[in-house]
Amino acid sequence: MINWANFVSQLFNGLVLGALLALIASGLTIIYGTLGVLNLAHGAMFMLGGYAGWLAYTYTNSFVVAVIAGSLFVMLVGVIMERGIIRYFYSRPHEDQLLVTFGLGMVFVETVRFFFGSLSKTVPPPPGLVGITPLGFMFYPTYRLALLGIVLVALLALYLVLYRTRIGMVVRAGIEDSAMVGALGIDVYKVFMLVFGIGALAAGFAGIVNAPVVSIAPDVGEAILVQTFTVIVIGGVGSFPGAVLGGVIAGEIISLTSMFNPGYSHVMLFVAMTLVLVLRPYGLLGTAGRE
């Protein structure tokens, strides 16, 4: 028998997870769309955001500082990674790009493990957002509720940057045809660096704001990477609206399946991805013709 209170609560959990996945996937999808590189270190960058934020928190006891530090640190890592390594792989085969980003992800994970150990760390929610909030029909953790709002604001900000600014216009054009953007006099390599920075920022931000919900550990990014990857396949590679839709779908599938049997949550996620690939190979909101 389904316990309805439990069901609604899981529905909410799915929405929170979905919004979070949408944000991380947006970063991954704009990077892949523009640069053509699937960043397999994206999950590790989510993890780095959590650790950088946690470190900042232990020194300052300020959640806001932790969020800013975690996000900016990962953005910086992203820019250095793109300038220092990834750009030498743009004209290399996809296998090489996958290997180098996968390898970088391992380096990030093991570096963190070396310095901070394998035990998980926790960042408490900011004061005022602790405890639970009555929603009338159920009680729900206050910070999770706030997290939904925080992530939605971040997604809105990303949307505004992509769709209402000139930089966003260049990025959207680059996702479609970066070579043509170059032929219009715009230095695409600067655009690539910027996009990698924004994508990394999204992962890092998600990593630290999620830290009060799920404690951080060096390998916390692995499951996130797998989930994020299915999100962009479901939503359509290179599509920001697709990442949002795919995120919510994936979040709900994971959350609702966990209610019955957590072991099957990824299985169901892959079933959904397979169905999308069979019925709409370009993803729900993707466009045909991408590589």
Partner: protein
């Protein structure tokens, strides 16, 4: 005699290991319209892609307006004033008509106000808010040309601008191109539609299997149309 605006000097270009262009040399002078004719697969598009920097030639040189450009990135070449209207148009479907033009003008030293583009292509003004994907083939081609023109290029490279368009649209675009040429716009055009191209061009080069096999003036082509038959089999 001043030096040509665009000088291509014995370039050899490859796609991977395939040798596509063999010692191709050509010149385009200021205010001139030059056609590059040849069969499918002759290397016409590769020539334009080499000029704009999409393909880097293994040997030879390209001099554009006094600058060696064959080792430059596409954006640097575009900033010097060489602008490609690519085969297949390649307009940005997720951007509106207006955004396509604004994007093109971002790095141009002297860009047209949008009004100027709307004057030439009134149809685009009507569709300024439409995403590129919603445009018809003719409208896409107008946008592709307008997108190049807003940058006020010194040389306009047109790659098969009439391909796949209805005759009436070809006629209109041809009239627009002729007006541009009469206004002094330098153009290098690649076209399968030889008749259309030769109503525009002052001169033509014939490309065959990656080799320039002939260079002809428009007058001699009109006087001896059989020359084209010999080279192109059309």
């Amino acid at each position: 005699m001043s030096s040509p605006l665009l000088e291509v000097d014995h370039i050899n270009s490859y796609y991977g290991d395939s040798h596509i262009l063999f010692d191709v040399s050509l010149e385009v002078n200021k205010n001139e319209v030059v056609a590059l004719l040849g069969r499918n697969g002759a290397g016409k598009t590769t020539t334009l892609n080499t000029l704009i920097g999409f393909v880097r030639p293994r040997s030879g040189r390209v001099v554009f307006d006094g600058t060696l450009t064959h080792n430059l990135q596409p954006h640097a070449i575009a900033q010097l004033g060489l602008q490609l209207v690519p085969e297949g148009r390649r307009i940005f479907g997720n951007l509106s008509v207006e955004e396509n033009l604004v994007l093109a003008g971002l790095t141009a030293k002297n860009r047209w106000p949008l009004e100027r583009a709307w004057e030439i292509f009134p149809r685009l003004r009507e569709r300024r808010r439409s995403p590129g994907t919603d445009l018809s083939g003719g409208e896409q081609q107008m946008l592709a040309i307008a997108r190049a023109l807003v940058r006020q290029p010194k040389v306009l490279l047109l790659d098969e601008p009439f391909e796949g368009l209805a005759p009436i649209i070809v006629r209109d675009l041809l009239a627009t191109c002729r007006a541009l040429a009469e206004g002094g716009q330098t153009i290098l055009i690649v076209e399968q539609n030889t008749t259309a191209a030769m109503t525009l061009a002052d001169r033509a080069y014939i490309l065959n299997n990656g080799h320039i096999v002939d260079a002809l003036s428009a007058q001699s082509l009109r006087a001896h149309p059989e020359l084209l038959h010999t080279h192109l089999g059309v």
